[in-house]
């Protein structure tokens, strides 16, 4: 088994409200559970708040997002194990965010 990372890209538009989030949470939990039961969940990972800082340059400057205008916002990640990239992509099809128009970026973990 090899390790892969799911990076979750939300659909365009405003982030979910607290109530919407409360509604989708059980669906996410069920998906995580099903990945785990099939032996594919290495680490559930974390959801990320739609805020943050960008640190860039030398010497470094720190700026606030803004993440609204970023085309490739990531709002969470999960560490998966699968036999290969194709199987990892197949597993990603169960992600609840796809139905709302989001996408999952599936990436291979590089050997250290």
């Amino acid at each position: 088994m090899n390790a892969f990372l799911f990076l979750y890209h939300p659909p365009e538009g405003p982030p979910l409200t607290r109530q919407q989030m409360a509604e989708v949470m059980p669906v996410w939990m069920a998906w995580m559970k099903s990945l785990d039961e099939r032996g594919h969940l290495r680490h559930a990972g974390n959801p990320l708040a739609r805020s943050g800082k960008i640190v860039r340059g030398k010497p470094q400057t720190v700026t606030d997002g803004p993440f609204a205008e970023a085309k490739d916002v990531i709002n969470g990640y999960t560490l998966i194990q699968a036999s290969d990239l194709a199987q990892a992509a197949e597993l990603a099809k169960g992600c609840p965010m796809l139905d709302g128009g989001g996408s999952v970026e599936v990436r291979s973990i590089a050997p250290m």
Partner: protein
Amino acid sequence: MSEFVYLYRGGEERTSSPQEMQQIMQRWMDWLQGLAGQGHIKDKGNPLERGGKIVRGQQKTVSDGPFAEAKDLVGGYTLVEAKDIDQAAELSKGCPIFDAGGYVEVRPVMKM
């Protein structure tokens, strides 16, 4: 202490010699070890291969890429602990990615 994720983005794709690669890797290890020594590492995370798949939308179509532009491509992540986002941003300034022209996106982990 709160949790934050560093998303390492961009950085030139250089064809480095194995020796250079080893030096770069060593600098990452030294940096992460320094943070760990100060109690700021929750999960050192993983570097990512450049290749991957995107699974998109209700149709769940799988494609090779397209990814973010190279300058925004996520090349790895680390889960850190800091007292607030300003400290998390400050701690990221030692990251070797700045030498390669990349940047660090610092994101709060959403408390569920």
